[in-house]
């Protein structure tokens, strides 16, 4: 058994260390604030660990290289921010369609467009879910501390390999540059993609497999891996057949939807029989946790549901907690994105309020308490 190690790290650094611990061997990217330290550190650490770092000409090429490396059998990833994430959307769809495991870290900054390069936001929630065209499911994780930057990056790689899908980690400009202690666990669960066990002639790279995910050969293996963004059959041959298209679409969504219990579940903090529920995620979950204590001092009993998986949205867990309260408050650094999902699963049972902050500042515990007073 390996001993735990304590380090004092920045959020971006923790992402890189998490990636390496998960077995990442390839990074392609185009540096952009506030994600740049990830590229910088990868350029140092990946070669030291026998991996490869490439700075590409732009973000379109970066994710293309990441997909290529993953098809070659390497665990691969990139990091970017809003403008770069927008450029990646087309090939992100390619990775969904061709079922290519990879991790995209989006360190959110204030937008739209080039916005403000150094200020945080939580405004890419919907883009990370619906950014590329077509109908699909995607996994999006959201850390709230430097510790979770590490843990959820590891988890992002594990889930990418397990589900053969791109996984997005939504960080933000505040968390990226925040420094605090991280405990690096000595023993870590690392998942690797399943390799084909059948004779090469029988290999179906897009078959239903166990749990709707087929094994994955690498380029150069005897098992032929055909890759296309077109609708394809189980062998990987493109087709315009309606029934095949329907099966493919439903399998791609179902492989994630039907097994979403395997994704990081929300954490509950605060009073068990709270009168008001906070639903928070990312860096704001910290302010929400502090707000629970301040609210209690003010005589308001509050619970917090911290989301760690944003997509697929944890409908069941959120509904369960909403049923226990009459009112809920969603604090977020956007004009109201997760609050739409909370309202959707709520079905009119509780009264849902939004605390929206869009002046580039981080929502503070005091602001949450102030809003709680109004709501109560």
């Amino acid at each position: 058994m390996n001993l735990d190690e304590k380090l004092f790290l920045q959020g971006n650094e923790a992402c890189v260390r998490g990636a390496l611990a998960a077995g990442a061997a390839f990074y392609a990217g185009y540096p952009i604030s506030p994600s740049t330290e990830i590229a910088e550190l990868c350029s140092q650490m990946l070669p030291e660990h026998g991996g490869v770092f490439i700075q590409m000409e732009d973000e379109i090429a970066s994710i293309a290289a990441v997909i290529g490396a993953s098809l070659g059998g390497m665990k691969s990833f990139t990091a970017t921010s809003g403008p770069g994430f927008s450029l990646m959307q087309e090939n992100l769809g390619m990775a969904v369609m061709a079922e290519v495991p990879c991790v995209i870290i989006n360190v959110q900054r204030f937008g739209p467009a080039t916005g403000i390069a150094t200020k945080p936001a939580q405004a890419d929630v919907m883009q990370s879910r619906y950014g590329t065209h077509g109908d699909y499911e995607i996994i999006v994780l959201v850390p709230s501390s430097v510790q979770e930057c590490y843990e959820l990056t590891v988890e992002a790689f594990n889930l990418a390999e397990r589900f053969r899908t791109p996984v997005i980690l939504l960080s933000d400009a505040a968390l990226a540059h925040l420094r605090e202690q991280v405990v690096i666990p000595g023993d870590l669960r690392v998942v690797d993609r399943k390799k084909p066990g059948c004779p090469p002639g029988e290999y179906l790279p897009y078959g239903p497999g166990p749990e709707l995910v087929s094994s994955m050969a690498a380029y150069g293996d005897p098992h032929i891996m055909r890759v296309t963004g077109l609708v394809h059959d189980e062998r990987g041959y493109s087709t315009a057949d309606g029934k095949t298209a329907d099966n493919l679409l439903r399998r791609l969504a179902g492989k994630i939807e039907n097994y979403s219990a395997e994704l990081p579940q929300p954490l509950y903090w605060g009073d068990q029989d709270a009168e008001i529920l906070l639903v928070a995620y990312g860096v704001i979950a910290r302010a929400a946790r502090a707000a629970i204590i301040k609210a209690r001092e003010a005589g308001i009993s509050v619970g917090l549901l911290q989301l760690r998986t944003l997509w697929p949205f944890p409908d069941q867990a959120v509904t369960e907690y909403l049923e226990k309260v009459k009112k809920a408050l969603v604090p977020e650094m956007n004009l109201g994105q997760v609050v739409r999902e909370v309202r959707r699963v709520n079905e009119g049972k509780a009264e849902i309020h939004l605390l929206s902050r869009t002046d580039t500042g981080i929502i503070t515990p005091e602001q949450i308490v102030q809003k709680l007073r109004e709501v109560v």
Binding site: F8, S33, T118, H177, R179, E180, R286
Partner: protein
Amino acid sequence: MAKAVKIALAGEGGQGVQSVAQIIAEAANEEGREALYIPNFGVEQRGGVSVAFLQIGDEKIGSPKFQTADIVVALSDRAVRRTSQYVDGNTTFVYDSSIEGIENDIPRNAGRILAIPAVETSRSELHPRVFNIIIMGAVIKATNVVSEDQARAAIEKKLGYKFEQNPKLRELNFKAITRGMELVEKAQ
């Protein structure tokens, strides 16, 4: 347990407030305390106002930013104007005595106001390069968040490779900490 000590350091980009905050945070972490540091800066490489928010305590620290600080250190005229919002009656407000044109901007509501000649001391006695280390000494004297020994160890960890090549730099940096501490002592 005592509440976390909240520190805001502000200066012009390039003055080194972020490095100071990071070294103090690392020193506190080494001493087994809870430490959190978050920078705030604009898109400029140099010349913008750069603020470092630092919290050191004995319990896990939640929200990275705070509304009022226990100590605010401002190292330029713009930094003085920018950081007066973090001052209340319990705040120690420290600024460099060479800053001009701020007579009306100094937050008079502060619990204590200390003017220290850090720029002057670095120029006349030490070296402008260790200006921020003088500030570091001032901060640890005013807050007691880390011991002087631990501060030295943290600097050694950060700059040890430079000290190997030029041992005089070590002496210069350590002297800067001590002078920074003395400046606060004298101003109190």
